[in-house]
Amino acid sequence: MTGETEDLELKDRLSLIESMIAEGRRTTESRGWIFVLWGVAYYIAIAWSSMSFAGPIAAAQYLAWPVTMIAASALTVVLLVRKHSKHPPTTVGRAMGAIWISMGISMFILCFSLGMSGKAEQQVIIAVIAAMIGTTNAASSMILRWKAQFACAIVWWAAVVASLFGTVLQSEIAFLVAIFFCQIVFGAYGMICEARERKREASHA
């Protein structure tokens, strides 16, 4: 066997290691749909809670956030369980799950307590929610080394500042814009990346 052949053989081993490690990690990257789902859920909750016309649904505006958030949570859990049953758990996946589940529980307790206590000042609530989502996105982006997600964290932090220093209207607009870019657009971008990756892997198989 020549030296060149040996080098090719060893390089082949390195490529094999890289592709197999990537194959194991691929299971953690299918998350774009969650962002889109929650972005839509936020919009539904906002639209429902700000309905001005009469009717049974509009009358139950106080139920808008709890009902939408619980429904979105239930749907997320059901879809995640179905997806997880096909793939083995990964360390990165557990880290990501820990961050987002902790944020979700904190958000639920915060919003529930604010709603029940009546100590709810809209601009402060928006700022706190945006800060929590921004922190979670930043932590997630650092684990995944994903610059696009860190950009989302910056947008959420900008929404915090705009909410506290702007008017009520500016605060609402900042929140809606952050949801659009960081949930809908970023989620769709994530889904496109995942689809491309799957296509690339299928062509290599």
Partner: protein
């Protein structure tokens, strides 16, 4: 001239290397998942997994889920260290050719 490192023969086998690399990216994996990712036959896969288990590089757990047998494989700390050393040795052997 520096001495060239030797490659661990237990890891060097292609299927065993693929299995260890796969297990390094996940916490644990089922036999069926490993089979689908490597495209190996049951017999060959079982034999290679046994070699890795005997070397102490992977741990096996057998259990029943909804009355169906399930075999889970997990990389051990010794396996992780061995794979890391193998990759380092591979890189040293390749030297300048690695980026060619």
């Amino acid at each position: 001239m520096p001495e060239l490192p030797e490659l661990n023969p237990v890891i060097h086998g292609k299927l065993r290397l693929a299995l260890l690399s796969l297990l390094s990216g996940v916490e644990e994996a089922e036999f069926t998942w490993l089979r689908s990712k490597t495209g190996s036959t049951d017999g060959n896969l079982g034999a290679q997994l046994l070699k890795l288990e005997e070397a102490g590089y992977i741990a096996v757990e057998k259990k029943f889920v909804q009355r169906k047998p399930q075999t889970l494989y997990r990389m051990t700390e010794a396996g992780r260290e061995a794979l890391t050393e193998y990759i380092q040795a591979l890189r040293r052997l390749l030297g300048g050719a690695i980026n060619a």
